[in-house]
Amino acid sequence: MHSAVVAKEGSENFEIGSERTLYPYVTGTSVIGIKYKDGILMTADMGGSYGSTLRYKSVERLKPVGKHSLLGASGEISDFQEILRYLDELILYDNMWDDGNSLGPKEVHNYLNRVMYNRRNKFNPLWNSLVLGGVKNGQKYLGLVSMIGVHFEDNHVATGFGNHLARPILRDEWHEDMSFEEAVKLLEKCMLVLLYRDRSAINKLQIAKITEEGVTIFEPYSLKTFWKFSAFHNPTKGAEGSW
């Protein structure tokens, strides 16, 4: 006779195992988004870390949503994939109306905000910081939704470590109507600092742009790093034996 614990029917089931997200497992690091002359430019690296291991090196964290928006996410990758499924359904239902109208970035941002906020109210959050950018009818839109439902719209946004390392640079050097080349240079400048100073960043990044014409996600590439400071060659030159 087996002496298993028989689970009682009814409400007791809920006490035995509650299912809430307590911590993230496979995570992506910062996403940076900026407005430029023709639309929005977003960048993220392609790393998926499993704690302190770099487990996945080709994770695409920038995805198009409908005709007018681009979504970038940092945080738990599985929750990001779930969000993409919700958005798929949303866009599908919108298309089924077949009324010539399509959901723009403002509407998608609002939808995501409601989803994130309601999940956090149930103490079961989707562990992501989402960057939503898009252009509709000539209007550029760039916003951020965090895992607790904080949302806002701005000319330049960043998640995770990007808040501390990239935001200061963007506040200093972003200006209205940057050309595509200028904007890419600015993003690369920020990503280089993140590569140097964020331990979960990797040197394989993707840039995505969205304009009135549509979404283009570019091929992944790496940045050139500089390690040849003379102080790095022999740090203890002036003081043998110290460190």
Binding site: H164, L165, P168, I169, Y196, R197, A231, G238, A239
Partner: protein
């Protein structure tokens, strides 16, 4: 004979902290007595090596929890005529530790008859901080120029050190490091170096809540130093009335006047 009372004679431990009062503090905490908050510097401090020497920079805000308790404090401390040290962390700790090592360096100068070296200050600071196992909460950026050349070091509260061409510490260190990592190169001139240091400190001042007010800069070269206190004041008081405040008679409309004589003052005689 009476009962032999066992006297608990504690042999005082040699050096470091005595943790006996920690149990008392835990007990008080359980009873709801909160420990007093201490004054932290919540800071942005930076240093960089340029072609002729070292430039140190710091903001000037000191915080006590959420309140700014000193709008214009000095975070660049004197160690020796050719060595200065910026301090982040608990204000008392940074002051005390730099003062102590500064006087030790002076005695050493008298004993040896030579200019102090940066590594001497470094070793004295790191061995002191290590022996207190991180409880002396002082994170320092030490810079100076001696006979062996310009040196820049960071010292962490637990006693580890780094030797770097550019360094930032404090709560605003990420904002300042973003500027350094994107704009630093070797062989900067004096003006370029000062400008970069000011940019980095301003980045900390405007992007970090623990840093603010003004920028202090200290330029150390061979045989000469420039302590530029309040080199930049990017947070002036705006909207100050130039006339000051004056309330002339007739500015306030008088609606009604009622004069009530109070009781006369009574002089008491001597015999009371």
């Amino acid at each position: 004979m009476g009962v032999l009372v066992k006297e608990a004679i504690d042999v005082p431990p040699k050096g470091g902290f005595n943790f006996d009062l920690c149990r008392r503090n835990e007990m008080l905490l359980k009873k709801g007595v909160q420990a007093p908050s201490f004054r932290k510097t919540g800071t942005t401090i930076v240093g960089l090596v340029f072609q002729d020497g070292v430039i140190l920079g710091a903001d000037t805000r000191a915080t006590e929890g959420p309140i700014v308790c000193d709008k214009n404090c000095e975070k660049i401390h004197y160690m020796a005529p050719n060595i200065y040290c910026c301090g982040a962390g608990t204000a008392a700790d940074t002051e005390a530790v730099t003062d102590m090592v500064s006087s030790q360096l002076q005695l050493h100068r008298y004993a040896t008859g030579r200019e102090s070296r940066v590594v001497t200050a470094l070793t004295l600071l790191k061995s002191h901080l290590f022996s207190y196992q991180g409880y002396v909460s002082a994170a320092l950026v030490l810079g100076g120029v001696d006979v062996t050349g310009p040196h820049l070091h960071t010292i962490y509260p637990h006693g580890s050190t780094d030797t770097l061409p550019f360094a930032t510490m404090g709560s605003g260190s990420l904002a300042a490091m973003a500027i350094f990592e994107s704009k630093y190169r070797e062989g900067l001139s004096r003006e370029e170096g000062i400008r970069l240091v000011c940019e980095a400190i301003c980045s900390g001042i405007f992007n970090d809540l623990g840093s603010g007010s003004n920028v202090d800069v200290c330029v150390i070269t061979k045989g000469h130093k420039d302590y530029l206190r309040n080199h930049m004041l990017p947070n002036p008081r705006t909207y100050v009335s130039s006339k000051g405040y004056s309330f002339a008679k007739g500015q306030t409309e008088v609606l009604s006047t009622k004069i009530m004589p109070l009781r006369e003052k009574v002089e008491l005689g001597r015999d009371v």
